[in-house]
Every structure is written in C-alpha cells, then in structure tokens.
C-alpha cells in the first residue's frame, strides 16, 4: 500500500528572500529519505507533499556468523540465545554456525517520526535564532505548529515544544487557527482560510489584480517575487500621490516607492512616471479605502521628507562639501573619504584624466554628506550626479559622478563617459590596493567589502572601455602579490565565465601577458578564430613538444647560427620561419605546420654534435619566442 505524505512547518513570518532556499534545502533532505517531495511555501509555512510512500520499508536479511562447528555446546547455545532461536534452528555454513537474521522493514511512519525533527532543524538559513532558551533549537523564526501526516495518520514527534498534529493555521486576520486538515483537503482548507499556498498562484493573483487596475507598471520582477513571499493572500491596490512631487528626480521617487514602501511605480503612455503607485496588500480587499489612504499618506510623508532633504542639500554646493568628507569614514585604517578623494583624484590624473574627470573625482563622494544620501544610501552617486547637474557642473562631470558605481553587477553597463570610466576605475583600484595593504583580503565566501565585485567591474571597464594604456599602468604597478593573484583570477573569471572563452585559451593568451586587457581580449578573439582551423592544434601540440624539449635540455639561450644548419627539413623550417616572420599568425600557422612536422619527423634534435644540438634548440627557441607575444600555444589542450 502506498501512502501520501504532508509536512507543514508553521512558523512566524520568514524573511521572503530566504524562503526559496529553505524549500530547496528541505527538498534535498527529504530526498535522502527517498521522498521526492513537491515544495511550496508562504511566509508562515514551509510545506512538502509527496505520494507513493511505502507503509513499510522492505524487510532485510543478514547472515550472522557464530562459533566454529567444533566449538563447545555452551558457546553454540549462547549464540543461539543471542539470536533468539533454538540451537537446532541454526544452520551451518562451511566451518561455522550461522543464523539468517530477518528484520522486518520499519514502518514508514516511525522512520519519519524519528528523522523529521532532525531534518527540519537542518534546513539551511542564512541566519537563525533561538527562542525557547539558550540551549534550545535554532530556526529562522519560531516554529508554532507542525502538520505531519502519512495517509490518514499523524506522524508523531515533538520539536521545540511543538507536538506535530493535523491542525494548520489560516491567514492571521481572515482565517482561523487550529484547523484540522487531511492531506486531501489541505490546500482547499487553507484557501477557505485566505491562504493561497502556491507561490505561482499568488504571483498570478498579483499580476491579474494589477491588470484589472488598468495602470501601466514599470516591470519589476524582483519586487514581484518579494511580494509573492511576503503575502499569503495578495491583493494589489492602486494609490495616487500629489503630482507636485514629480518635480523631484524620478530616481528618488522610484527609490522611495520601491525600496522603502515596496510599491510598483506607474508609467503614463509616454513612459514617464505617473503620480500613482501599486501596493500589494496581504488581505482580501480594501473595502473602505482605508489601506489606500494609509499608504498614500505614508508616501506623501516620505516624499515630503525627500523634498525637504533635497531643498536642504541645495543650501551647500557639492564643491563646498569636499572638506566635510574628513568626517566620513571610508575604512578605519584607510582614513576618511577626504583622503580617499585625494588619492582617487591623483590616480585619475595619472591615468590621463582630463579636467572634467579630475573635477568629477574631486566631487564624486561629496553626496555622502547630503541628507538625501544619508536617508537613501542606495542613491549615492545618482544624487551626486543630480546635484552636480543642478549646480551647473558640465555634463561630462555630472555624468561621471552619477555613473561612478557602474557597473553595479554583471548585467549593468560600464560608465558611458571616459571621465566616468576613469573615476570608477580609480575608485576601485584605490579600494583594492588599500584593503589588500591592510590585510582585508576576501577568502572563500567572505567578502564583506565586495572586493570581488569591485575588481570585476574594473576588469570590465578596462576591457570594454578599451583602456589599454590605463590597463598597463594599473596592472603593472601592482606590488602586492596577493592582489596580483586576485586580479589575475578576476581576469580569468571574466574571460572564461562571462565571455565564454575556453579555459586553455585564456591560459595560453594570459601566459603572454595580461597587463593590457584590451590587447588580451583581441588576442583571445583571434585565438578563438584560429583554433578550429585544421593546422592549429597539431602545431600547438608541436609547440608543447618544443617546450618540453627545451626544458629537458636545460636550454640556456645559446646563440643561433644559421651556418650550422643542415640542408633539408632543418633548413626548410628555418627558411619558412624567416619567410613568414612578421606576418599575422593566422597566415603563419598553415605555412609552418608542415615544416615543423617534417622537422620532427626527419631531424634528430639531440644531435651527437653538441654545437649542432645547441643550434637546433636555439632555432626552436626563437620560433617559440616569435609567438610568445600572442599566446603560449603549449597551454592549449590538444587531443593528440
């Protein structure tokens, strides 16, 4: 007989962003019990359901070996007693008494009762708490009820003082508590109590609800996901705000709505911000419009604050705030933002930044002292750019300030202006150098200062901004070995994982240097083109062979003397090397490959005459050298 299974862990509100991970973790652990569960959750419950569980695990048999046939009777009796059988029931296998011990498979309900408490407590959360006392269990939030059913039976266990049972809880205000359920009516019972169990269905309810409001939303999938896991019975409503606030920059308005209030912003037909918003309630309806009014008033107050900050901030120009940066800590050991600003401005100058880039570098961090950024930290840079524009700074300056934190992630674009690129680069390198100098080095998953992201952004700016000279300057100046290795890793990561070059191509091209990243990119692109051509891999294999030969021979740079060459394949190779010297490698590969093959086929490098031998090594060495500025082909993994 096969049985359905239901586990619902009822909790206080779990942070929305942790829920999908928790479900995955629980799913994985149930798989360990052979249960392929379907997972679903709301903020107050993590639920696993499955069908077809056996009532019992299969019976098992084990042959237990006892005393030798020749053992005294007492020993045999003792063994039989221990196995719970009469001595006559023992069998003899070879020289020994044995017993075939049969164990009936355990009942599934017992297996689950034993393992579920441990499984639940092992669900991985980024942060946990205790609530029953210092030695009590840890979970993301207090567990308040547990439904655990196998077929019609409760799987009995206790966890954190909660006894498992068959009673669930509905929506906090609209539903009942302590509602008995069966596996069959569980989801419908929840629905009757204003809990939509399925995240997919909640998402659809939000989307359909918004569609019915006939407003145009700015699409915001992450916000939608947050709201799906912040509600058990989501219902969107539309609210309005005073159009006078549209005079504030839309970035500020959107940030207030999205980050502080979790509202969707609304667009008019031309794509401009409309004086409306969509909030998603965790309830069925706003019968008297109180929720809408409440949200409108909150937003009004928030916008008023923002306007107040904006106006206050205008009293002191960004340019007059530079000295105030002395009071803003960058990092305890690395000093203030004023010191950082000076270093970054100097670096921008060293990188060839023009007057606008230098000006942007000087003003870049000044918005950290403004009320608006203190209130909306996520708007740093953007606010600086807006203020600089309002205060009459040239476009290249305000755009550079505004874009200084770009790219913020892998999907984001790099700063659009040269000045912005240089400021962003200088800022990032200043942070990296400083942090590595004082030992703040990322390790494993620990990277609290986001140095990997900073470095990744710098690599992208250098490559995508085609900043060869700056790249060479920044990457050859590095004295710190750990930082050099860290950046090397970031460059590899960028070209392999972001750009999709094969790892051996990246190794080969980087072996020829990686301080000029735009040049590295160009070489990789060419290498990618050459690689599938028929002569390439055989030649690469030969290069690997040459490298090995040179290493084994401990070649130490003896001069090459053409006069010592023998006619035939050796001379032909030399002639071909000479003939093609200076040509693009794309052309040389096809020409050289047959000559190299022939050479290895017919010529013995390890000639008896030491002078001839050394000369052959020197010629091969020169050949490798001619390709060295492009890539080290011996790094290419070939099939041969």
């Amino acid at each position: 007989m096969s049985l359905p299974f239901l586990l619902e862990i009822g909790t206080e509100e779990i942070p929305d962003w942790m829920i999908p991970g928790a479900l995955e973790s629980l799913h994985g652990q149930l798989e360990g019990l052979g249960i392929a569960a379907r997972m679903v959750a709301t903020p107050r419950r993590l639920t696993a359901r499955a069908e077809g569980l056996p009532e019992r695990l299969p019976d098992t048999e084990e042959r237990v070996t006892g005393p030798r046939r020749t053992a005294p009777e007492k020993a045999v009796e003792g063994f039989a007693r221990k196995q719970g059988v009469a001595p006559a029931e023992l069998s003899i296998e070879g020289e020994y008494y044995t017993h075939l011990r049969k164990t009936a498979g355990r009942r599934m309900i017992e297996v689950l009762a034993d393992s579920l408490p441990g499984i639940i407590l092992k669900i991985a959360f980024p942060k946990t708490m205790y609530w029953t006392g210092k030695t009590g269990p840890r979970f993301i939030r207090p567990i308040r009820w547990i439904v655990a059913l196998l077929g019609a039976d409760v799987i009995p266990f206790e966890l954190a003082g909660v006894q498992s049972g068959n009673e669930t809880s509905g929506h906090r205000r609209l539903g009942s508590a302590h509602i008995p359920v069966t596996i069959g009516n569980y989801e419908q019972t929840l629905r009757d109590n204003f809990v939509i169990l399925s995240a997919t269905e909640r998402r659809k309810k939000i989307e359909d609800g918004i569609a019915a409001l006939s407003v145009r939303l700015k699409p915001d999938p992450p916000l939608l996901e947050t709201l799906v896991y912040l509600t058990e019975y989501p219902t969107p409503i539309v609210g309005e705000f005073d159009p006078k606030f549209l005079k504030l920059p839309k970035e500020v308005l959107i940030t207030v709505m999205r980050h502080h209030q979790k509202y969707f912003s609304v667009e008019d037909e031309s794509g401009r911000l409309a004086p409306q918003f969509v909030a998603v309630m965790n309830t069925d309806a706003d019968h008297e419009g109180l929720v809408r009014q409440g949200n409108e008033r909150v937003l009004h107050a928030r916008f008023n604050d923002a306007r107040f900050f904006w106006q206050t901030d205008q009293r002191k120009k960004l340019a007059d705030r530079v000295d105030d940066l002395a009071n803003v800590t960058f990092q305890a050991e690395l000093g203030s933002y004023l010191q950082k600003t000076r270093r970054v401005a100097d670096l921008v100058q060293d990188l060839g930044g023009n007057e606008h880039a230098r000006r942007a570098a000087c003003l870049a961090k000044c918005d950290l002292t403004t009320e608006l950024v203190k209130e909306f930290t996520e708007l740093q840079g953007v606010v600086g750019g807006l203020y600089a524009k309002a205060q009459g700074e040239p476009e290249e300056v305000w755009r550079a300030i505004r874009e200084q934190y770009k790219p913020e992630n892998m999907e984001d674009s790099i700063p659009g202006t040269r000045a912005g690129q240089l400021v962003s680069l200088a800022d990032r390198f200043d942070t990296l150098r400083g942090c590595f100098r004082i030992g703040l080095v990322p390790s494993g998953s620990r990277d609290p200062l986001g140095l990997r992201r900073a470095a990744q952004g710098a690599v992208r700016i250098l490559v995508e901004g085609k900043l060869s000279r700056q790249s060479v300057k920044l990457l050859t100046d590095i004295v710190h070995t750990q930082l050099k290795e860290f950046l090397e890793d970031r460059v590899k990561f960028y070209f392999r994982d972001v750009r999709g070059f094969a790892y051996d191509e990246v190794n080969a091209a980087m072996a020829s240097g990686w301080s000029d990243l735009p040049d590295l990119e160009a070489r990789l692109l060419r290498l990618r083109e050459i690689r599938p051509t028929p002569n390439f891999e055989p030649l690469a294999a030969s290069f690997k062979r040459i490298k090995n030969i040179l290493r084994q021979a401990e070649f130490s740079g003896e001069p090459f003397n053409p006069a010592l060459l023998e006619p035939g394949p050796e001379h032909e190779l030399f002639a071909e090397i000479n003939r093609t010297a200076g040509q693009p490698i794309e052309d040389r590969i096809g020409a050289l490959r047959p000559k190299v093959d022939l050479f290895f086929d017919k010529v013995l490098v390890n000639a008896p005459d030491p002078a001839v031998r050394a000369n052959r090594l020197a010629m091969l060495h020169n050949l490798l050298e001619q390709f060295r500025t492009f890539a080290d082909f011996s790094e290419i993994v070939t099939n041969s």
Partner: protein, 297 residues
C-alpha cells in the same frame, strides 16, 4: 478622536492586563527605550520579567528645528518586554492594535524582516518591522544577545513609535498637529524642545566641555567597574555593589557621544574608538550585572 495620551493610556492598560509592570520613563537621557536598565539589564539572566513603559528617546542628529513634520530630536517609544516571549507574542501584539481602535480586518498588516542591532550595547536580535498600511509602526525583536552575553531566556521586545501611531490614528500629516490632550497639540507641548535642542546640538554645544564630561562619566563608570568584587567569597559586597549607578554613567557617555556626533565633532579616527569605549563599559556592566544576579540566587 483619541488623544495622544489616551492612546498611551490604552496601550499601558492593555499590557498591564497581560501581566506587565507599568514603569515610568527612565530619568537619564537615552537614545532608545532598549537602553533603559528595565530592558538592558533585566533581559539578562533567567528571571522572567514583563514590563512596559513610555521612553522619550533622544537622537540629537535627527533634530530638525521643529521644521520637518516627521523628524524629531526626541520621540516617544512605548517599550514592552515580555520575558520569556510567549508563544502567542504576535497575537498579543496584534491585540494591542485593536485595543487602540484599529480594526485589523480593514487594514493591511505585514511583518517585514528587520534585524535589530546596537553595537554600542553589544546587543542584537532578529525580528520584523511591523507595517500597517505601509507605515512602520512597531519594531518587533526577539533578543538574542545583550551586553555581549547570549541570553538565557529570549525576550520579545516591542517598540511602538507613538508619534507615528498617533498621527495614523488621528489622520495628521504633521506630528506637531497631533492632539496630545484636548486643547493641546503635540507642537504646544514639544515644539520648543525640538527647536532649542536642535540649536544646542547642532550649533551651540561646546565641544570641549562635552568631551570633558564624556571623560568624567567614562572615568567614573570605569572606576566603579574596576572595583566590582571578583571573588565569589564576597557575596555581600557583590549584592550591594552599585552597578546601576555605574550604568547611568554609561548612558551619559552614550548621549554625549550622540551629541558630539551631531555637532560634527567626532573625527573619523575617533569615531570607531569612541563607540568601542562606550561598548566596553556597557559590556562590562552587563557581565558584572549577570554575575551579581547569579550570586544573589
């Protein structure tokens, strides 16, 4: 319409019915209700405790000269400590909202993750900000650590922002328009405080004097802590040892730090160090207090 004080009366009555001692505000300046001994010290150790009090909370840097309708130098928190936290802590909390006339079937309530941390107190907990129709009205925290000590028993801490709650209930756009008592607005009662303390904190506080005071209070707290009996033989001396006065000195330091900070007088290099100095004292008092309570049992 319920006045500001009626809302407070109702909340106090509600929590009194649920076994809370109703305390008066602590009479030393604090930045938050959590810092009062009734919370900071009482959450330590295994003894159950339930208390509720309104605490004027001073945040010098938040002062706006009485010009901003939502920002205050000194706002009022209703602080509730339920130790240990009951299983139905959230339900009890929701009941308190109904007690002040909020019909929860007509409103939207959400519990959004918000973990609380006070580095100067060595204290943190996990919990939520409670959103009522998009307005944050309460911070709900399960304390985990205080004074650097893992708590034996986990208390639930509810911190209501009373001005916000009153503005919501009275439908006022400015805190200054809240009716405090019939015939008196919040502005009548508090506007002078806001203006004068903003002027003092931002413009006129004498930095040198504040630093001197800081050093004096710090010295006194440190002196006392150094005298706390270490040996378990000295049970009587321990029991009468003045840790509560020592903690008052720490609170003074904390408020002076906040004032110096709003005055723009704390440089980068100093800032982290000063926080550490206050934290060291707070942690010292907490450890001694835990020891003192343990010795008394």
């Amino acid at each position: 319409m319920q006045s500001f004080q009626e809302i407070i009366f109702k909340l106090k009555a509600y929590w009194a019915q649920r076994g809370c001692i109703i305390q008066e505000p602590y009479d030393v300046e604090v930045g938050a209700g959590t810092m009062c001994p009734e919370t900071f010290l009482r959450v330590l150790g295994p003894k159950p405790y339930r208390v509720a009090y309104v605490q004027p909370s001073r945040r010098p840097a938040d002062g706006r000269y009485g010009e901003n309708p939502n920002r205050l130098y000194k706002h009022s928190q209703l602080q509730v400590i339920l130790k240990p936290s009951p299983d139905d802590a959230i339900e009890q909390y929701l009941g308190s909202l109904e007690a002040v006339g909020i019909d929860l079937t007509q409103h939207d309530i959400k519990f959004e993750e918000d973990n609380w941390e006070a580095p100067t107190l060595g204290a943190w907990g996990v919990g939520w900000q409670v959103m009522l129709d998009g307005l944050e009205i309460t911070q709900f925290t399960y304390f985990q650590q205080c004074g650097g000590i893992d708590l034996d028993v986990v208390p639930a801490e509810l911190t209501y922002g009373l001005e916000r709650l009153a503005a919501f209930l009275q439908v006022k756009d400015s805190v200054y328009d809240i009716e405090w008592a019939p015939g008196f607005t919040y502005g009548d009662v508090r506007l002078q405080d806001e203006l004068q303390f903003s002027v003092y904190n931002f413009e006129m506080a004498e930095v040198e004097t504040l630093w001197k005071l800081f050093a004096l209070y710090e010295g006194e707290a440190a002196r006392l802590l150094a005298l706390y009996p270490k040996s378990s033989q000295e049970a009587t001396q321990k029991a009468r040892f003045p840790l509560l006065p020592a903690y008052d000195q720490v609170l003074k330091c904390s408020n002076l730090f906040n004032t110096l900070d709003s005055r723009g007088a704390i440089s980068v290099t100093e800032r982290v160090g000063v926080i550490q100095r206050v934290r060291k004292l707070a942690v010292g008092v907490a450890h001694a207090w835990a020891d003192q309570q343990g010795a008394a049992q």
